[in-house]
C-alpha cells in the first residue's frame, strides 16, 4: 500500500531532491514542482507573493492602508529630570501614571550623592494621550535617618615596649635569665640587672621588642641564686592589623564615619557602602602605641540633610506620525518550528503618511487566489520616515482580510513583543531580501541540493536553456530572480543543461555534449566559478551515478568515468551500441527513460535503455573491478532505479531497487527468477558466446567446460557455430565419458552440472566432448572458424550457473 502524494507529472521523469530540512522536492518541467514534508500529501513548490500567482501574473488583489483617525496616541520616550532633589540614599522608584489611556512605560533612576541625576527608560509603553501623563520619584520610607546596624571588628598586633619590675626578690648573687611566654608573638628578649649589695633585681632592659603579639606575653626569671624570686610585667605597643565587617547594616549612604576606641593612637578605618550596606572596610592608618589589644570601632549614621523630592517630566512621542511603508506576505506555518516556516515574498509596498499624530492604521486587503499551502498572512510596516527595514505588525489567519493596527512605534521595535520580527527590504550589500522568497519557475526540470542551496536547471523558457538558478541558503523554495548564473554557450551549436551532479567540492553541470564544474564560496552570484571539464555530456539528468568516488556517466557517445576532472571513456569495446547506425542497439527516441545506477553492494554499474526492437528491459552492465561488460535482459520493463538502505531498523548494505512496469518496486539480486510483465516468475536465460576462433589443422577437436557443480540438474547447452553461421551445428561425433556431458540429437552437447551426475561430486566439474570440424587450408570449402556458445536457464539456487573455464581443442588464437 502506498500513499498518493500528488499528481500531474506524467511522461517525463521527475528530478527529485531532499532538502536539509528533510522535505522532499520534485520538478519535471511540466508543471509547478512539489514539496512533501514527510506527512500528508505534497504541495506545490514555493509560495507566490500576495496578489500574483507562481508565475508572477497578477491575480487582481490589492492592499490598502488608511489612517485610523481619532485621539492620537503616544509613548513615553524619556523622563526628564527638571529638579534633582536631595537626600536620596538609594535610587527611588519612578512612577509613570496616566489619567487617560496608555500603560506600560517604566524607567529607573540614577542617584549621585543623594541627588536624582538622570533616568533610563525600561519600556516605553503605548497608547498614552497627550497631557495626561505624569512621573514622580518616591522616597523609600525605610531610608531615613541615615543608616544603622553596621559593626566592624578590629584585630590588633604589637610588640614589647618596656618592662616594669613589680617584685625585686631577694638573695640574688647573679643576674637571672629573663623569658617571655604566650601572647602569640615571638622574638622578645630582655636582660635583668641586680644590686649585688642588696641581692635584688634592680631593673630589666629590652634587648629585642619582638613582634606579632596579639595579647600580652608573660615574663619570668630563672637562676641567679635567689631566695625569693623577682616578678615583672610588660608594657605593650599595639597597632591595627585587620578589620572585618561583622554586620553590614542598612540605609547608609556613601562612606559613613568610623570611630575607634581607645582614641589618640592615630588609627583610622574607612567603610564604603553599596545600596545602603557596608560592603568594604579598609585600614587607612594602622596607628601606633595602643596599650591594649582591645580596639573597638563604631559606625556612625550618615549625616543626611533635609530631603527634597526630585521633579520629573515625561517626554511623549507620537506613535503614528510621519510616512510609513506597508506590505503583507503569506506564510506556511504548521507550528513545528520557526525553521519550518515557509514564506512568500512581500507584495508591493503601500505608503501612508500621518501629517499629525494619529491613533493608528486600518489595513484591508483582498486576494482572489491564495495558495493552499498558505496558513497565515503577515503584516509588515516600517517605522516612520524610513523604507529600509520592515517590522512585523501581526500574524493573522489567512481567512482574515482586515486589521486595526494600533502597534505604536515603540512597540513595533520592541524585541520582546510576541509578533516582533525584522525584515530588511534590502541587505546592506544591496541584495534583495524581503522579496527573495520567489518560487522557482514551473519550467525547470532538474534540481539538486548542493552546499545548502537547491539548484534548478533545465528551464524550457525561451533563452533559459543554460540558466543555472539557485535558492537562498537553506531556503530551497526561494529562488529570487537574480539568483541565476549562465553556463557558457558553446560555439558551433547550441547546447543545453540537462543534468546536475553534486560531486565532491563542486557540482558538475552537464549539458548534452559538455560537462562543467561549478563551485562557489558563499554567494554564487558573486563568487561562483564555472569551468569546462570536457566535451562529454549526458543523456538526461538520470544518466549518472557514483560509486567509490567515481562518477559513471552515459552520454550519446558512450559511458565514461569522471574522477576529479579526469574523463575516461570506458565503453569503447561496446561503442557500437551507441555509435553504429547499422548495429547500434539503443532506441534514442525513448532516451528520457534511460538511467544509470551503480549498485555499491556488487560493484555493477547498469545503464538501462530501450533497444531498437523491444522494450525497456535491457541493461548494459559494467563491473568496476573486473572492467568487464555484459548485457542483462529482465523479465519486465524497468524505468527507474534507487537504493534501499534500511531493513527493520537494522542498517544493512544498500540494495538496488528498480521501478518496474506494473507498479512494482523490484529488488535486484534477490532470488533466481524475474517477474515478467504479467507479474509471474520467469526463468533467467543466460548466454555466452566466444569470438570466432580460427580452427587449426590438428586432428583432435573437443570442447570442455569447467564449472562449479550444482545441487540439481542444470544443463548448460554448448553450441558450436562454425564460420559465420548464426545457427549451431550438431557435432558429428561425441563421447560421453561420464563427466557430465550428454548428447542430444536436437539440443546438441549438454553438460549437466549436477554434482550427482558426475563422479567428481562437489569438486569443480570438468566435462569434455569431442567435436567435429573440417580444416584444410588448401581448400575453400572447409571450416575455418568456430565460436562456442554456452546457454543455461536458471530458476532456483540449485541450478544457478557458475562457469570457471572453457577449453577448446583444435583452435588457435
Amino acid at each position: 500500500m502506498a500513499t498518493l502524494l500528488t499528481s500531474g507529472y506524467p511522461t517525463y521523469p521527475l528530478s527529485i531532491a531532499r532538502g536539509m530540512n528533510g522535505d522532499i522536492y520534485g520538478v519535471n518541467g511540466q508543471a509547478r514542482g512539489f514539496r512533501w514534508r514527510g506527512t500528508g500529501t505534497a504541495d506545490g513548490l514555493g509560495i507566490a507573493a500576495p496578489f500574483v500567482d507562481s508565475a508572477g501574473v497578477s491575480t487582481g488583489g490589492s492592499l490598502t492602508v488608511t489612517l485610523a483617525g481619532g485621539t492620537a496616541k503616544y509613548y513615553v520616550r524619556a523622563v526628564d529630570v527638571i529638579k534633582a532633589g536631595s537626600g536620596y540614599q538609594s535610587a527611588p522608584v519612578i512612577t509613570i501614571a496616566s489619567t487617560g489611556t496608555g500603560s506600560g512605560a517604566a524607567c529607573t533612576s540614577v542617584v549621585n550623592r543623594g541627588r536624582l541625576t538622570s533616568t533610563r527608560m525600561l519600556s516605553y509603553g503605548n497608547t498614552y494621550e497627550a497631557t495626561k501623563v505624569t512621573a514622580k520619584a518616591t522616597f523609600p520610607a525605610a531610608q531615613l535617618p541615615g543608616g544603622s546596624g553596621g559593626t566592624l571588628t578590629i584585630a590588633a598586633a604589637g610588640y614589647v615596649q618596656s618592662i616594669r619590675v613589680t617584685t625585686q626578690g631577694a638573695g640574688y648573687t647573679s643576674a637571672p635569665t629573663v623569658a617571655f611566654t604566650g601572647g602569640g608573638g615571638s622574638g622578645a628578649t630582655a636582660r635583668a640587672s641586680i644590686n649585688e649589695t642588696d641581692g635584688v633585681v634592680d631593673s630589666v632592659s629590652i634587648v629585642a621588642p619582638g613582634s606579632g603579639y596579639t595579647s600580652d606575653p608573660t615574663i619570668s626569671f630563672t637562676g641567679g641564686g635567689y631566695s625569693t624570686t623577682a616578678a615583672a610585667s610588660v608594657v605593650m605597643s599595639y597597632h591595627i592589623q585587620g578589620v572585618t565587617i561583622t554586620a553590614a547594616g542598612s540605609n547608609y549612604v556613601g562612606s559613613p564615619e568610623v570611630t575607634l576606641s581607645p582614641t589618640l593612637y592615630a588609627g583610622s578605618i574607612q567603610a564604603i557602602t553599596t545600596d545602603g550596606k557596608i560592603t568594604t572596610a579598609t585600614i587607612t592608618s594602622p596607628g601606633e602605641g595602643y596599650p591594649t589589644n582591645s580596639i573597638t570601632a563604631t559606625v556612625s549614621p550618615t549625616p543626611v540633610g533635609t530631603p527634597s523630592t526630585a521633579i520629573l517630566s515625561p517626554v511623549l512621542s507620537a506613535e503614528f506620525i510621519g510616512k510609513y511603508w506597508m506590505a503583507i506576505r503569506y506564510v506556511e506555518d504548521h507550528g513545528d518550528g520557526e525553521d519550518k516556516v515557509i514564506a512568500s515574498s512581500i507584495c508591493d509596498l503601500v505608503s501612508v503618511e500621518a501629517a499629525s499624530p494619529d491613533a493608528g492604521f486600518t489595513w484591508n486587503w483582498t486576494d482572489l487566489y491564495i495558495d493552499s499551502r498558505v496558513t497565515h498572512v503577515e503584516l509588515w510596516r516600517t517605522t516612520a520616515d524610513q523604507a529600509i527595514v520592515l517590522y512585523r505588525v501581526a500574524k493573522l489567519a489567512k481567512t482574515v482580510f482586515t486589521y486595526a493596527d494600533t502597534v505604536g512605534e515603540s512597540e513595533l521595535i520592541n524585541p520582546l513583543r510576541t509578533d516582533f520580527r525584522v525584515l530588511p527590504i534590502l541587505l546592506p550589500n544591496g541584495q534583495v531580501n524581503a522579496r527573495r522568497f520567489t518560487p522557482p519557475p514551473s519550467t525547470v526540470s532538474i534540481m539538486a541540493m548542493f552546499q545548502e542551496r537547491m539548484w534548478y536547471a533545465g528551464d524550457s523558457a525561451t533563452g533559459r536553456a543554460n540558466a543555472l538558478m539557485f535558492s537562498e541558503a537553506q531556503e530551497p523554495e526561494s529562488v529570487e530572480k537574480s539568483n541565476v548564473i549562465f553556463v557558457q554557450e558553446n560555439v558551433r551549436g547550441e547546447d543545453q543543461v540537462v543534468g546536475l551532479m553534486p560531486f565532491g567540492s563542486g557540482m558538475v553541470v552537464f549539458q548534452r555534449r559538455h560537462c562543467h564544474k561549478m563551485s562557489f564560496v558563499s554567494q554564487p552570484v558573486i563568487d561562483a566559478s564555472i569551468s569546462l571539464i570536457g566535451q562529454r555530456g549526458i543523456v538526461n539528468h538520470r544518466c549518472w551515478d557514483t560509486a567509490e568516488g567515481v562518477a559513471y556517466v552515459v552520454d550519446f557517445s558512450g559511458m565514461y568515468t569522471l574522477e576529479g576532472a579526469a574523463i575516461t571513456p570506458i565503453s569503447d569495446v561496446i561503442a557500437n551500441y551507441w555509435k553504429s547506425l547499422a548495429d547500434g542497439d539503443i532506441d534514442w527516441a525513448y532516451s528520457q527513460y534511460f538511467f544509470v545506477r551503480a549498485d555499491p553492494s556488487t560493484g555493477v554499474v547498469r545503464f538501462v535503455y530501450r533497444p531498437k526492437s523491444g522494450v525497456q528491459n535491457q541493461a548494459l552492465c559494467y563491473h568496476s573491478l573486473t572492467k568487464a561488460w555484459w548485457t542483462e535482459t529482465y523479465g519486465q520493463e524497468v524505468y527507474s532505479g534507487g537504493l534501499a538502505t534500511t531493513s527493520s531498523g537494522t542498517a544493512v548494505r544498500p540494495r538496488l531497487l528498480l521501478g518496474g512496469q506494473l507498479g512494482t518496486l523490484l529488488l535486484a539480486d534477490q532470488g533466481y527468477t524475474d517477474l515478467n510483465s504479467a507479474g509471474s516468475p520467469v526463468d533467467i536465460a543466460c548466454q555466452y558466446q566466444t569470438g570466432r576462433l580460427p580452427l587449426d589443422a590438428g586432428p583432435s577437436r573437443s570442447v570442455a567446460v569447467l564449472y562449479r557443480p550444482t545441487n540439481s540438474t542444470a544443463n548448460v547447452t554448448v553450441g558450436l557455430y562454425f564460420n559465420s553461421s548464426t545457427s549451431p551445428r550438431l557435432p558429428s561425433a561425441y563421447e560421453d565419458d561420464g563427466t557430465g556431458v550428454v548428447f542430444d540429437t536436437t539440443a546438441g552437447i549438454t553438460v549437466d552440472m549436477n554434482k550427482a551426475r558426475s563422479p567428481l561430486g562437489d569438486s569443480n566439474g570438468y566435462a569434455s566432448a569431442k567435436i567435429s570440424g573440417r580444416m584444410d587450408p588448401r581448400s575453400t570449402g572447409t571450416d575455418r572458424h568456430l565460436a562456442v556458445a554456452l546457454s543455461v536457464t536458471v530458476n532456483t539456487a540449485d541450478n544457478a550457473a557458475s562457469i570457471l573455464g572453457i577449453a577448446i581443442q583444435g583452435v588457435g588464437t
Binding site: A2, G26, T39, V573, W630, T631, G660, C686
Partner: protein
C-alpha cells in the same frame, strides 16, 4: 587449443574474428563480478507494490529513496500517469 578462464566480457565493437580469448561476442545475464568466474545473475523480486486502494500503478518512471519515516526505507515514486506516491520498503540484507 585455447583455454578461457579469464572472462573479459563483451567486445562488440570489433570483428568477432579478432576477439581475444576470454572476450565475448554475446554475454547475456552472465555476470563477471569475480575474476575467473562467469556467473548467472540473480533475479528481480517484488519489494513493494505501489497501489492505492484497488488501483495499481503502472510504470514507475522515477524513484527517490531515503531513510524512511519509520524503520523501513522510504521511496517516493512517479508513475508514467503522473502520480507521485510514497511507499515504505523493507528489504533484507
Amino acid at each position: 587449443m585455447i583455454t578461457v578462464d579469464k572472462w573479459a566480457g563483451l567486445i562488440t565493437n570489433a570483428s568477432p574474428y579478432l576477439l581475444p580469448p576470454g572476450s565475448a561476442a554475446t554475454q547475456v545475464n552472465f555476470q563477471c563480478v569475480r575474476p575467473g568466474e562467469l556467473e548467472s545473475r540473480r533475479g528481480l523480486s517484488s519489494a513493494a507494490a505501489i497501489t492505492t486502494g484497488a488501483t495499481t500503478a503502472s510504470r514507475l518512471i522515477e524513484m527517490y529513496s531515503f531513510r524512511g519515516l519509520t524503520d523501513a526505507c522510504g521511496v517516493v515514486v512517479q508513475t508514467n500517469g503522473g502520480q507521485v506516491y510514497y511507499a515504505a520498503v523493507t528489504v533484507g540484507g
